[in-house]
Symmetry: C2
Subunit: 251 residues, 2 copies
C-alpha cells in the first residue's frame, strides 16, 4: 500500500526514530477493532510539532498496541496564521464548523460570546477531539488550538495590533469578500462570525472603530453562521493563504 | 416587526395579490404549532417563479391555515447559472452539502455516479425538502433543481458545449482555484466533485480530454468531498458569481 493510503494517527508525545509508543486506550481500540491491524502493519504518526513519522505495529496485547517509530516522512509545517473567532451555535452545526475549519487549515479556533449568543458553554475537549479527527483525515501536521470562550468585548479590548479582523456582516457597509482580499496587508488574520441572531448594533459599532477591522459581505443571500465562517475561511485561504501550494503527499 | 424578520415560506402554487392560499399539511402544522400564528400575522411567500409576496393569516382551522396574499415584496430573481455535480456521499454529509450549496446560491444540484461512488441511491424528494428549508432561511427566491443521478460517463457525453466544468482534483496537475477564477470566460459553470475515494484514473483522463474542463486545486490539505464542493462553490460565487451585490432585503 502506498504510504499516503496508510492510517494516520495523532499521538501527543514526542516522536523520533526507534522510539516505542503506545497509543491511548481509544486509539488502541480503534486500531485493533476497527482497522484490525496486524504485527508489521504500517501507519503514520504526527504530534503537531515533529512532522510526520512512519510507524509499524510491534506488539498487540488485549487492550494495548505498541508501535515502533521509523523514519520521518514529512518535516514539520505550520498552517497559515489564520484564526476563526466564532460565536458558538447549535451543537451539530458547531461540530461541523470545527471539522470544516480544521480541514480548511485554520490555526486557532476561538469561541466568542456575543450579546445574542444563546449557547454560552463550550466543551473544549470535545471540540478538540473533533479537530484531531479532522486533522488526521486532512493530512494536516498540526491540530488547531481551541481556546476557551471569551466575550466579544474582551476580545476587542485585547486585540493584537498587527492582526486583521475580518468581520462577516449581514447588514451595513461592507466590501465584497473577493475584493477585500485582493490586497490584504497582514499575514495575520482572523475571521469573526456572529451567532444565529447576528451581532447587536452596539457590537458592530465597536467593531467598526477597530483599525484592524475589515467588514466583508458574502453575497446577496443570508448565510447561516457556520456557512459564513467556512465561506470566509475558504476565500482567505484561496486568495491570501496557502492554497497556492501543491497537495501534501503528492508523489 | 420588520418584514425581513417575518416567517418566509415556500408555496408551490401561483402567487398574486388578493389570492387565498392554503399551505400543505406540514406547513400548516408548522405555522400553528411551532410558530403559533394568529389571525392577521404577517409572513412572506415565494414559489420560485413569482418573486416574494406579503401574506397574512386569514383563517385558522383545526388542520389548515388560510393565508391572504397581499403586495409583492420582491421581484423574481434567478441565482447565477452555477451547477453542483457531486457524487453522493454518506447521508449526513450529503444533506449538509445540499443545505450549504443552496445557501451559497447554486442553481442546480446533479448527483453523479462515479466508479468509486458507494452510495448509488439518492432520494430526490428528501434532498428537495432540505433545499426548500435552506432556501426559506437564506432569503433565496428560487429552489435549486435537484436532478436524478446519472453516471459520470453519461454526464460527460452530454455535456453542454458552452458550460465550463470545474473539476476539484486531489491529485495531478491543477490550477490554484483563485487563479483559475480570475479570468473565466463563461457565465455558465459547474463544480464537479468526486466521492470519498476520489475519481478513478480513467475518469480523470476522460475529464481532462474535455475542452470545457478546468482542473482546480483547493490547497495543500485533503478536503472531504462535501468540504471541497462548498469551498469551490464559494470561490466561484465570490470571484465570478453574484457576491458583488448587496444583501437581499437591505433597507
Amino acid at each position: 500500500m502506498e504510504l499516503r493510503h496508510t492510517p494516520r494517527l495523532y499521538h501527543e508525545a514526542a516522536l523520533r526514530q526507534g522510539l516505542s509508543v503506545e497509543p491511548g486506550t481509544e486509539q488502541a481500540h480503534y486500531l485493533q477493532h476497527v482497522l484490525r491491524v496486524k504485527i508489521g502493519d504500517v501507519m503514520r504518526l504526527f504530534n503537531g510539532r515533529d512532522g510526520e513519522w512512519k510507524a509499524t505495529v510491534a506488539k498487540l496485547a488485549k487492550k494495548s498496541v505498541t508501535l515502533t517509530v521509523h523514519e520521518q516522512t514529512r518535516a514539520p509545517q505550520a498552517e497559515p496564521d489564520l484564526w476563526l473567532c466564532a460565536a458558538p451555535i447549535k451543537k451539530a452545526h458547531f461540530d461541523y464548523m470545527i471539522e470544516k475549519a480544521t480541514e480548511l487549515g485554520v490555526a486557532t479556533i476561538h469561541p466568542i460570546l456575543t450579546a445574542r449568543t444563546q449557547i454560552r458553554e463550550v466543551n473544549v475537549d470535545r471540540c478538540r477531539a473533533i479537530a484531531i479527527e479532522a486533522a488526521e483525515q486532512s493530512e494536516r501536521l498540526t491540530i488547531p488550538d481551541i481556546l476557551k470562550p471569551v466575550t466579544l468585548s474582551d476580545l476587542v479590548t485585547n486585540w493584537p495590533s498587527t492582526r486583521q479582523i475580518i468581520v462577516c456582516a449581514e447588514w451595513g457597509e461592507a466590501t465584497p469578500i473577493a475584493h477585500a482580499f485582493t490586497n490584504l496587508l497582514s499575514s495575520q488574520a482572523a475571521i469573526l462570525t456572529g451567532p444565529e441572531g447576528g451581532f447587536a448594533a452596539d457590537e458592530l459599532e465597536k467593531l467598526r472603530m477597530m483599525s484592524q477591522a475589515i467588514f466583508v459581505r458574502l453575497g446577496p443571500r443570508i448565510l447561516r453562521a457556520d456557512t459564513a465562517a467556512l465561506a470566509a475561511l475558504t476565500c482567505w485561504q484561496a486568495q491570501c493563504g496557502d492554497w497556492m501550494l501543491s497537495p501534501r503527499g503528492t508523489p
